[in-house]
Symmetry: C2
Subunit: 320 residues, 2 copies
């Protein structure tokens, strides 16, 4: 069998010459070439071969390079927020914002800034066009979400970095419409507790504190099904965009006296019940639960804060 396969494989051997744009869409319907010559890698490999004593990881990296989860290690920089992108699910891992009072509110009557938030009535009155959703070409075509993926589905495009956080900054507002900031949400979700939480951050936390750091992102929580614990979620369009079951917000509040304080929330990706009175504190969630579900570690360089959180919680358990 190996001999046959070898012949088959060799018969398919092809040389490599051309260079093309890496951001092209995938050509998944093409016939298979299972073996190809990577002539260009030759010098690197010869070099690696010369040094058999080199550590295996370095040999591999030097000869063929490690596979990359695109833009996972290097968050994507935007004007007023920063995004870590999940290439498997085609949605962000997290979106980080730093909100400051002076960016929201005008105390000085001479401040001539105009509210340009496309979702603001004045802005609409000014005839400002709502910005259109656009892709981020730094993400490879294989792993990009597209507005078309959301067509003919029951889901809406939800934004992690909220345009209403940048009322006087047209560029930042427009940037929130980048597809790397978009997650599929159940219609009505963004009008429920998620909306209240965004208002609470702007109207209370930002007003009353020096500044607020907000990290938002999706979560996938398993559920029990036929006596088995299973992960089950919809996948949208050709881009195969995953629909998360929950969302989180981790909020770090920088108080005027210079302390940092933390609040963390988790909310299901669903429509709130009609007439349901929303209590934000029902959604307060220990950071460790969010870290367990998200695969993230917050404050990785500040383990003392992070781990002490558990310790202190344990201490309070007895105190309460």
């Amino acid at each position: 069998m190996f001999r046959n396969l070898s012949r088959a494989a060799c018969a398919l051997a092809v040389g490599i010459k051309n260079q093309v744009d890496t951001s092209q869409q995938p050509l998944l319907n093409e016939p298979m070439i299972n073996r190809m010559c990577l002539q260009k890698c030759l010098p690197a490999v010869q070099a690696a071969g010369q040094d058999c004593q080199m550590y295996v990881g370095d040999r591999i990296k030097r000869a063929v390079g490690f596979p990359q989860l695109t833009a996972c290690c290097k968050p994507l920089r935007y004007k007023d927020f920063i995004i870590s992108y999940d290439t498997k699910n085609r949605i962000p891992n997290w979106v980080y914002e730093h909100l400051q009072y002076h960016k929201f509110y005008k105390d000085d009557p001479c401040d001539r800034r105009v509210n340009v938030c496309p979702f603001n009535d004045d802005s609409a009155a000014l005839g400002n066009e709502k910005p259109k959703f656009h892709p981020d070409c730094r993400i490879h075509g294989y792993h990009r979400a597209d507005v078309r993926d959301y067509c003919d589905t029951e889901y809406e495009l939800g934004l992690m970095a909220d345009p209403a956080n940048y009322p006087f900054d047209a560029e930042a507002c427009a940037e929130t419409q980048v597809m790397t900031n978009v997650v599929p949400i159940v219609p009505g979700f963004s009008c429920g507790p998620w909306f209240d939480l965004q208002c609470y951050i702007r109207e209370k936390l930002v007003r009353e504190n020096k500044s607020v750091y907000v990290c938002s992102g999706p979560l996938f929580l398993p559920c029990e099904n036929d006596g088995k614990v299973q992960m089950k979620f919809d996948v949208l369009g050709e881009g195969e965009v995953s629909v998360p079951s929950h969302f989180f917000k981790v909020i770090i509040i920088e108080t005027h006296d210079g302390n940092l304080e933390l609040e963390s929330y988790m909310m299901p990706n669903c429509k709130p019940e009609d007439g349901e009175e929303v209590k934000l504190d029902d959604y307060l969630t220990p950071l460790c639960q969010i870290e367990h579900a998200s695969g993230l570690i917050f404050f990785p360089e500040k383990k003392v804060c992070f781990t002490s959180n558990n310790k202190r919680r344990g201490a309070r358990l007895h105190a309460l």
Copy 2:
């Protein structure tokens, strides 16, 4: 509501003092502390505050640090292979090995090495104990898989880096039993085409070529369910270890004349039919399909090889 929540949150404020081991298991059943003071971060924040002109990403990184997908950016180094770990699914993203003839075979009669592979009969005869599965403490307790997660499930512990690849190296053999190298497999999977593929790599590719680079990993492919495309997979134990639907192997062959050639395979995580004749070439899969499903880009620094693959495939489409 905000006022009430604020009081509730402030009432929960706690200070940070102790430092503890970050690899401890999560304490998910503890009561919630939703707000805590992170005094330790104060100097960094004051510094950040002094420079309001600093880029938002740098301000956030300096004040609170970015959340980390542990060990995602830095692959985990082992003696004879290297692993990128998926903290969300508690299984590897990929495991890379570099296989060389002299590590498998003894041409020199004076070569006194003894086959110590724990799954080898001679080794068993020598009374070598099978190494036990062990955790990698570099992975945070929140995101570690444990052998107990597999108890009372229908799945077995499957190894991505194969101990049979290190017959004369007890340390490397033992290292393949690290939990970061383990993925849940359906019983019988490892005796089917996956086993044949491993034999084909050792018996043919490694024998006939200078060396072979092998990248193995899990895949999650959606399926159509009630007219909807859905992702659905089992999740095991408290560690919530995800069971992949497929596995891939991307094989880069370094020939004696110095070329690199590529073969890529994808196989479903299932038991082969009884009496089914396995043909490996039925599992040959275009690299782009594996990259699309895995969220990975292979050869990121060698885009010419990678993207030309598509071009060449397109070219062959007309040639054939």
